[in-house]
């Protein structure tokens, strides 16, 4: 108010009312911040902060998606790893059985029994190779087949290794294709086992020991290498999962830091605002200014 001009009652009360209105709006905003716990209730409260918070929320959500991808990959890799370890045990069991041909003189009946045993182990390995995940063959690549191998040992899937995106432009393998682990056809693990069974049934000990056993040994090494590879993928995926999770958390914290209310500060401001408001109200109650009227007879 201009100090030069004399005050009129109307001007005086008008000014006071204006400052009370402004104070009430301010107090209402502070109360809203306190009750929502958010300093940004509409974009205009802090346009830059609003954009930053939205971007951080979006980035955090994307990082969470990566974490979900990684954890989905982990469960595939975990299953593949345990299946391969089981298969390794079965192959070494197979090696021992086939090896026993050299130590003793086998009757034709014994050979037939051994052939049956080897065939049984081979079927267990086939069952493992046909492990299903979410209704589809785990080692079938991306072909969508329900069984990776036919009973004759032919590979039915494709050679595409499924991947999971775990970061910006980062894709990690989430499995292994059956053909790279067990091979396919006559030269594949199941082809070798079938050949061994045939040789045992034919009593061809020589072929069993000179050709089949070394082939089985070599497949043991290959499956072991594949298992090690899947284990390495598992570790990579685990690391990616942890990173994506921590990124998601950091970004989420960032978003909430931008929007979060500084409680002590807002509470102090609110109580200050309330006392200002009260004094303005008191002044308004006293607005009838001291006038000459009081001193006239």
């Amino acid at each position: 108010m201009s100090a030069v001009l004399p005050a009129t009652t109307l001007a005086f009360s008008g000014e006071l009312l204006g400052s009370i209105d402004a104070g009430e709006v301010n107090a209402q905003q502070l109360q809203q911040q306190l009750s929502t716990g958010s300093a940004i209730i509409s974009p205009s409260d802090d346009p830059t902060g609003a954009v930053d918070a939205l971007a951080a929320q979006a980035a955090s959500s994307q990082a969470s998606t990566w974490a979900t991808n990684a954890s989905d990959g982990l469960s595939r890799l975990g299953l593949a790893n345990s299946v391969l370890n089981q298969v390794l045990g079965q192959i070494s069991e197979l090696q021992q059985s086939v090896q026993s041909v050299s130590s003793a003189n086998f009757s034709p009946a014994g050979m037939a029994a051994l052939a049956q045993q080897v065939q049984g182990i081979g079927q267990s390995i086939l069952a493992n190779a046909n492990t299903s995940y979410e209704g589809y063959a785990l080692f079938g690549g991306t072909s969508g087949v329900t069984e990776a191998y036919s009973s004759a040992g032919a590979y039915l899937g494709n050679n595409v290794v499924p991947t999971r995106t775990v970061g910006p432009g980062t894709q990690l393998p989430a499995g292994a294709s059956g053909s790279s682990v067990f091979g396919s056809g006559a030269s594949g693990l199941f082809g070798v086992i079938n050949q061994t069974v045939a040789d045992l049934q034919a009593g061809n000990t020589n072929a069993v020991l000179s050709t089949d056993l070394p082939a089985i040994n070599s497949w043991y090494d290959q499956v072991q290498a594949s298992a090690a590879q899947v284990g390495a993928y598992y570790d990579q995926m685990q690391a990616a999962l942890e990173q994506a999770q921590s990124t998601a958390q950091t970004l989420a914290d960032q978003a909430s830091n931008i929007t979060a209310v500084n409680l002590p500060k807002v509470a102090t401001e609110l109580s200050l605002q309330n006392s200002t408001l009260q004094s303005a109200l008191y002044a308004l109650a006293q607005v009838v200014p001291p006038s000459l009227l009081q001193y006239l007879p």
Partner: protein, 479 residues
């Protein structure tokens, strides 16, 4: 000594009575908004037989109006009207961006972890992209595809409702503008008839002319706040009103305002009265101008940006999908691949906008038609194309980035409108206080004047009594 003293004292009595009338009128109107204090202008009367003069008279009862301060108050109130109507419209409209917790949803008090809060478009977009990754992880899962369709539908619905909220903001702002214009028309008519009444009152010398002038001023103040009208008063007391250089009231004739066009092409026009043809009134201040600014500039640009978000979403997702393949029927060993098909389309057949975006019914009826695979050679369990769609979330020119820019743009516009509102409101109230301090009723000044007139009256009375006693003693001496 002559009889002159009695006449002079009588003129003092009359003058002080008129002064008292003015004071009492002022005190009675001390709380009347827009009331302009009156002053009885005292003057001495020349003439009479001697050099003394022949008493006092009230030459005029004038209004204490202050042209400069009144004009300042009107200009600032026009600016405040502009800023406050713009800020109100935009503040209402920005509720469409409900990405932040509103007061109605009571959020948890302390912020422990994040809140990807609200049901805003950003949260819907994030859920949409995330569901694409789920499809990428399990391309053979019908559940993943169905929930993707669900979140796409929610996204489309959100865009629809945001678009219709912005449209209804436009409609209600247009209604508000029409209402303001019809109020203005009524006031223009009243002002024209006041102009006529002032002329008649002056000509006939009948009382109440000052009250008419005050009514003129009050209307002029209202018109300034509503359409930023400026005024000038001629020597005859007739007030001319113009806005944006267009004369709206001249003497007894008033133009009629109207609103023509809709949306971005809305204008205020004037016709009739002093105007020979329909003229566009370039309203640049006052409430109407604030509404026009929101109607023609801010709201349409928000709508356009939202449409751009929708069309970018549709284009980027559709392009990625048509680059891939889908396998149908889902999960069947005899599934065959086909080139990917678009997910979003326009219900009008034209360009995709926030209002017209819709899901391709083929995809809705058979989620297997979502092209998750990259090519026919990679098999039905290849989700790399779905993952590529999911990766669009991080695109710097994608729908997310555009939406965030829109929120920033709208937030800044509202923030500056609100800031302008508080600054101009302060300027207006201070200018009004100055004008009212200068023109309004100062009780103390009036009471002082009251004492002066009272003493003047008593003194004149004393002169009459003294003169009377002198005459009677003279008469007693003579007889």
């Amino acid at each position: 000594m002559s009889i002159q003293a009695l006449d002079i004292a009588l003129s003092g009595l009359d003058a002080s009575q008129t002064g008292l009338d003015a004071v009492s009128e002022n005190l009675a109107n001390a709380s009347t908004p827009g009331y302009i204090a009156q002053t009885a202008d005292m003057a001495s009367v020349a003439g009479g037989p001697g050099p003394v003069g022949s008493g006092a008279e009230v030459s005029a009862v004038s209004l204490d109006n202050n042209q400069a301060l009144t004009a300042l108050a009107q200009t600032t109130s026009a600016q405040a009207g502009y800023a406050s109507s713009l800020a109100q419209v935009l503040q209402d409209a920005q509720s469409v961006f409900n990405d932040f917790p509103s007061s109605s949803t009571s959020a948890t008090s302390s912020s422990s972890s994040t809140s990807a809060s609200g049901n805003g478009l950003q949260a819907q977009l994030s859920a949409f992209w995330s569901n694409w990754a789920t499809v990428a992880n399990s391309p053979g899962s019908l559940a993943a595809r169905t929930s993707l369709i669900g979140s796409s539908q929610t996204l489309v619905d959100t865009l629809h409702s945001m678009s219709s909220m912005l449209s209804s903001s436009l409609t209600s702002t247009q209604a508000l503008l029409s209402q303001t214009v019809s109020e203005v028309n009524q006031q223009l008519g009243e002002l024209a008839s006041l102009n006529v009444a002032v002329l008649q009152a002056d000509a006939s010398g009948s009382g109440g002319a000052n009250a008419l002038v005050e009514q003129q001023m009050a209307l002029a103040n209202d018109l300034a706040a509503e359409i930023g009208a400026t005024n000038s008063t001629s020597s005859t007391g007739s007030m001319t009103i113009s806005a944006g250089g267009v004369v709206l009231v001249s003497a007894g004739s008033a133009a009629t305002l109207g609103v023509s066009g809709t949306g971005a092409s809305t204008t205020v026009t004037a016709s009739g009265g002093p105007l020979s043809a329909t003229t566009v009134v370039p309203v640049s201040s006052g409430q109407a101008a604030g509404l026009l600014q929101a109607l023609t500039s801010d709201l349409p640009s928000w709508q356009a940006a939202l449409d751009n978000v929708a069309s970018t979403l549709a284009t980027t997702v559709n392009n990625q999908l048509t680059a891939g393949v889908y396998w149908s029927p889902l999960g069947s060993s005899s599934a065959t691949s086909s080139p990917g098909i678009a997910m979003f389309a326009s219900s009008t057949g034209g360009a995709v906008t926030a209002a017209s975006i819709e899901l391709n019914p083929t995809i809705v009826s058979d989620p297997a038609d979502i092209a998750a695979g990259a090519s026919a050679s990679t098999g039905p369990l290849d989700g790399s194309n779905a993952q590529a769609v999911s990766d669009l979330a991080g695109s710097t020119s994608g729908a997310d980035a555009l939406y965030q820019a829109l929120v920033g743009q709208a937030g800044s516009a509202v923030q500056s409108a609100v800031a302008a509102q508080s600054v101009t409101a302060q300027a207006a109230s201070s200018a009004e206080a100055q004008a009212s301090a200068s023109e309004g009723v100062n009780t103390n000044a009036q009471l002082t004047a009251l004492l002066n007139y009272q003493q003047m009256y008593e003194a004149s009375g004393k002169v009459i009594a003294t003169a009377a006693s002198m005459f009677s003693s003279l008469l007693a001496a003579v007889s």
